[in-house]
């Protein structure tokens, strides 16, 4: 199976284009096509990888042809390739959006640095999804946390630098505790490869139970800190509201989901389902998730600034993913993984449309949104589609993940989770609906600037339309994603090496 070098081609293509971006002057004509071209080629490669995996099953890729225990190994199964494809497509749309929007935030000479950081961020995210080696996961996580702080602090005003410093400090505490957890796992099992570790853990579990418990708690706190679960989410609102729009879209939409997916990989592929049930870690995960769902929405209600409101709603939405992981059954995982992709689409649409509004009218306060629907029908249309999805109206993909979560909660006999999901949907409605209503139904005191068609540049309208349509399509036909997850589930549930 060595003939299939696709993962390497995607990663190295992104790396080389990220490294050569500073060499091209931003004013030259080749600058933009090169950026968009790299990501389109990478998405096509990801599509072929998905087709290859869909036809003849998951494959391992060993670097340097070493045995999987000796060298580093990539493991690409159905869900990984779908997630890689989704990440690449959404980043492509976000970068297309940012071509015009970023010029408002940073001077033109700085754009090469910004796009290098963005491409390196996508490179490290794909690395984290595909790797099957614990230390390699840590190295990619470091690149991701460094670039995500760099992407915030590129707009050099006081709020950004302070938010990015706070994010850097808390993010580094998270990754240091994850490294300590990996070190403890290595101390007990002697392997860094995920498959080999999970095999040795099941045999060594009786001898060193406390060691594995402590290492697991370090890893979960580190990942929870980086994925902004409720008690550890303090850095997220400042970071995501101060950042330029495309970076807050990619940060909220995809980056925190990558940490959630790494938690799924570590919990189900390294530790294994029976040990998790034995020490009932997933019970505590569900409690944290439920608190995070409710408290995230409660905080979001009181927000005035549109971006802070969306940042707090990300905290509550990541709670859905962790609720799916905490339920730890087939249906729970399906719900969690489905919501990872569904929320990536919805949150990117919300942040991009909020950015378009700020780009055109400069309005950031939520209560000044009345009458904007006439001025920017397309932008606010995409915003309301995604907002309805977040509330959970059928037909948009948000509803499907709540539906699967409800089924999963019902399956394990805990209907209390369904009540919490309904409460949070209600809370979402409390803070999303007023925006949509005031945008479309209220008169705007800026009547005189009525423009029937949006006059935001085409490169900003196209991503919004595509993302809005994607939300609806995956909402109406969820099996596109669910079948893929169903096929990938055996690798998580009973990962026999």
């Amino acid at each position: 199976m060595i003939s299939n070098h696709l993962p390497v081609y995607i990663l190295i293509l992104l790396l080389i284009s990220a490294v050569t971006t500073p060499a091209i002057k931003p004013s030259s004509k080749k600058f933009r096509p090169k950026l968009v071209g790299t990501l389109t080629i990478a998405s096509l490669l990801a599509l072929t990888m998905f087709i290859v995996v869909w036809t003849n099953g998951p494959f391992y890729y060993n670097f340097g042809n070493w045995d999987s225990v000796i060298g580093i190994e990539f493991f690409v199964d159905e869900y990984t390739s779908l997630f890689v494809l989704a990440v690449l497509l959404i980043s492509l749309l976000i970068i297309i959006f940012s071509l015009e929007d970023i010029l408002h935030d940073i001077p033109k000479e700085k754009t090469p640095h910004y796009y290098t950081l963005m491409l390196l961020m996508v490179f490290s995210m794909l690395g984290m999804i595909m790797t099957n080696d614990l230390f390699n996961l840590y190295v990619f996580m470091e690149i991701l946390s460094l670039t995500s702080c760099g992407v915030i602090s590129i707009k050099r005003n006081k709020a950004n630098i302070m938010a990015s410093f706070k994010y850097l400090m808390l993010g580094t505490i998270g990754s240091v505790s994850i490294l300590l957890g990996i070190a403890m796992l290595y101390m007990v099992t002697g392997h860094l490869n995920m498959g080999a570790t999970s095999q040795t853990i099941s045999s060594v579990w009786q001898m060193y139970p406390r060691n594995i418990l402590i290492s697991l708690s370090f890893i979960l706190t580190g990942l929870g800190l980086k994925a902004a679960i409720f008690p550890l989410h303090v850095w997220l609102p400042d970071a995501h509201s101060a950042a330029p729009t495309p970076s807050s879209a990619i940060l909220s939409g995809i980056v925190i989901k990558i940490y959630a997916f790494s938690m799924i990989k570590i919990l189900f592929r390294v530790i294994g389902i029976d040990i998790i049930k034995a020490i009932s870690i997933n019970e505590y995960l569900t409690y944290f998730a439920v608190i995070s769902i409710v408290m995230g929405s409660v905080f979001a209600i009181g927000q005035k600034d549109i971006k802070r409101l969306l940042a707090y709603s990300s905290v509550s939405q990541i709670g859905y993913v962790f609720l799916g992981i905490g339920i730890a059954t087939e249906m729970g995982l399906v719900a969690g993984m489905y919501h990872i992709i569904a929320h990536a689409m919805m949150k990117s649409t919300l942040f991009l449309s909020a950015g378009a509004v700020i780009y055109r009218t400069g309005i950031r306060k939520v209560n000044e949104f009345d009458g904007l629907g006439y001025e920017l029908p397309l932008t606010l249309g995409a915003f309301s589609i995604a907002a309805l999805g977040m509330i959970g109206i059928p037909g948009v993909n948000g509803f499907m993940s709540k539906w699967y979560l409800g089924l999963a909660a019902f399956e394990i006999g805990k209907p209390i989770f369904i009540i919490f999901i309904l409460i949070s949907s209600f809370l979402n409605a409390v803070y999303f609906l007023p925006i949509v209503i005031s945008a479309f139904l209220k008169e705007s005191n800026r009547r005189e600037q009525i423009m029937i068609r949006d006059d935001i540049p085409f490169t900003m309208k196209a991503p919004l339309v595509v993302l809005g349509a994607a939300c609806i399509v995956t909402g109406l036909f969820p099996n596109i994603i669910v079948n893929v997850i169903q096929r990938a589930l055996p690798t998580f549930m009973t990962f026999v090496f």
């Binding site: 790396l15 490294v19 500073p22 670097f63 340097g64 070493w66 225990v69 000796i70 060298g71 580093i72 001077p107 000479e109 700085k110 640095h113 910004y114 290098t116 950081l117 390196l120 490179f123 490290s124 690395g127 230390f135 390699n136 190295v139 990619f140 470091e142 690149i143 460094l146 670039t147 702080c149 760099g150 602090s153 590129i154 050099r156 630098i161 403890m184 290595y186 101390m187 007990v188 099992t189 002697g190 392997h191 040795t200 060594v204 060193y208 139970p209 406390r210 060691n211 402590i214």
Partner: protein, 96 residues
């Protein structure tokens, strides 16, 4: 008021960590689980796999070479991030 609370929590955490030490494989003895067939493979086969004397150089640039590629990328990102934060582009020069 925050400091003593954090101090207490951290000393409790330290106590838990150190008290759980005697269950962990102890330091420096030959038999602990991390010195398994993987480590022995590196030591015994490094000579004919890579023909080098320094096994650690063999590990970072041959067996696990992809880690070091990630490493050089971390170096590159740190430069880009620092330059994007500190770099006084022509923009600021005109202001000065």
């Amino acid at each position: 008021m925050k400091k003593p609370f954090v101090l207490v929590v951290l000393t409790v955490l330290l106590f838990i960590l150190i008290s759980s030490l005697n269950e962990m494989p102890s330091l420096g003895d030959r038999v602990n689980p991390s010195y398994n067939e993987v480590a022995e493979y590196y030591i015994s086969n490094a000579k004919e796999d890579t023909n080098t004397m320094n096994i650690i150089a063999a590990i970072i640039t041959d067996y696990r070479a992809f880690d070091t590629l990630g490493e050089t990328t971390v170096l590159f990102t740190s430069i880009t991030a620092v330059v994007s934060v500190l770099g006084f582009s022509m923009f600021e020069k005109k202001e000065k």
